[in-house]
């Protein structure tokens, strides 16, 4: 065995999800190891967002299993946990970065409160420490710490995304889910944000699943990639391999359709 024998941090087995007669995800299986970044790529309607929602427990799949490697109890089926346990996981060991930052932030609370909320939810009761952590994290996501008391209503899209990232990472989650984290942002802002995400996930050795329709984002961020079409995984492998030597006709179509300036 060439790679170390440690267990995966996430194991998805035969996942399926239907919306009425329409199958959004069919027979999806993969494993993810600590520190790996996996890109889920596909066009609209491919089922990638459904997949992300199911593995992050935001939705319950109709079939299949999602197992997560907890810190103290080994691999657990996340849907066999109680809601309280799942919510605790979602607050501590998982992060979820939404495409639209307003969904992942409390827009009427200050940046500091947004970052500190998870800590307070976990029982941190020292204001000074909370504020210090919030300060540190705002600096780490390259935000102006002087704006710690301002609400995100006054922030640009890129800043809101940074705040969302800080809010999620403050508990050092071992697995981060990202849903199109940079779509809708200006290109220059995207580049900086991706760079930030990349360095943070590497520094913290986090596993991440990034849903994106942008192949350049996948190439930049991910070690591995799965391509989805009509709810199925039609190709998977190392990111550079899937992008440089696509096997499946659909993947070839996707790759060849990308404009390069």
């Amino acid at each position: 065995m060439i790679a170390p024998d440690d267990p995966p941090i996430l194991r998805v087995t035969a996942l399926a999800k239907h919306y009425g007669a329409r199958a959004a995800a069919i027979d999806v299986s993969f494993e993810l190891w600590p520190g790996e970044v996996l890109a889920v790529v596909g066009e609209s309607g491919s089922g990638k967002t459904t997949l992300l929602d199911c593995v992050s427990a935001r939705q319950r799949p109709d079939a299949g299993r999602v197992e997560f490697l907890t810190r103290h109890e080994g691999m657990v089926d996340i849907f066999a946990l109680s809601e309280a346990q799942r919510r605790l996981l979602a607050r501590t060991d998982w992060g979820f970065v939404h495409q639209n930052a307003t969904e992942g932030l409390r827009m009427n609370m200050s940046a500091g409160a947004n970052v500190g909320e998870r800590l307070m939810a976990l029982g941190e009761r020292n204001y000074g420490r909370i504020r210090q952590e919030a300060n540190d994290w705002l600096a780490r996501v390259e935000m102006d710490v002087a704006r710690i008391d301002e609400t995100p209503v006054t922030f640009s899209g890129g800043m809101r995304q940074r705040l969302q990232i800080a809010r999620n990472l403050v508990t050092r989650p071992r697995l981060v889910f990202m849903d199109e984290p940079t779509s809708g942002l200006d290109v220059s802002v995207q580049a900086r944000l991706l760079d930030l995400l990349r360095s943070l996930t590497r520094q913290l050795s986090q596993a991440a699943i990034i849903v994106t329709h942008d192949l350049a984002v996948a190439r930049l961020m991910a070690h591995r990639m799965i391509v989805m079409k009509d709810g199925r995984v039609i190709e998977h492998g190392l990111t550079d391999q899937v992008l440089d030597d696509p096997q499946h006709p659909y993947t070839q179509l996707l790759v060849s359709s990308v404009l390069t300036p």
């Binding site: 760079d195 913290l204 391999q241 440089d244 070839q252």
Partner: protein, 239 residues
Amino acid sequence: MTGPVLAVAGLAKTFVLHHRGGVELPVLRNVSFEVHAGECVALDGPSGAGKSTLLKLIYANYRSTRGSIGVRHTSAIAGDALFELTSATPRELLSLRRTTISYVSQFLRTIPRVSALDVVAEPLAEHACTDPEALRQAERAARELLLRMQIPARLWHLPPATFSGGEQQRINIARGLIRPTPLLLLDEPTASLDDDSRGIVAHLINEARERGAAIVGIFHDAKVRQAVASRVIDMAKFR
């Protein structure tokens, strides 16, 4: 440990272009050779002969159609056993790329905003995670290499996107060589370099050879090939 570091047997690669009516492009047909530690094998042949393709297959950037690629990995327990790349999982391949196989591509793929220093240090920094001492060492090694590559210090903190082709290539090479691995794949490492830089790169390649690396490379420049290659393989054999 006297076995080969790399053993390619019956390797074939055919590209199928599904959107060009399924046309098939056979590029490699039945490639077989071995490379031992301390050897530098130069792939020779006209363009289109599949030299780059072969390197990419070994690096698992391309998927083979047929055949086997065996790489001796660094596990002391396995001894001379070769690990089969063509059936490896992505995780195993990632591990191999970290510990065993380095690849210097023909062009530097630039990431916006990452400084030249960080680009070069990355293979070591990735391994270091947050260990501050290891990170410092990574930066030191990067600086040394950049110095040897004669990249002026004022460029170190700039992203390489705006550098000249030659400068980019030197950074690419530095990045490929900074973490010594048993197998090193080089695709036209001196293509856009002047004589001076070519000399430096040749020197570095020989250093790698001397410490026991097995090298497979494509060297267009005859002088460089002369300086580094211990053996030449003519790709015409495999058509």
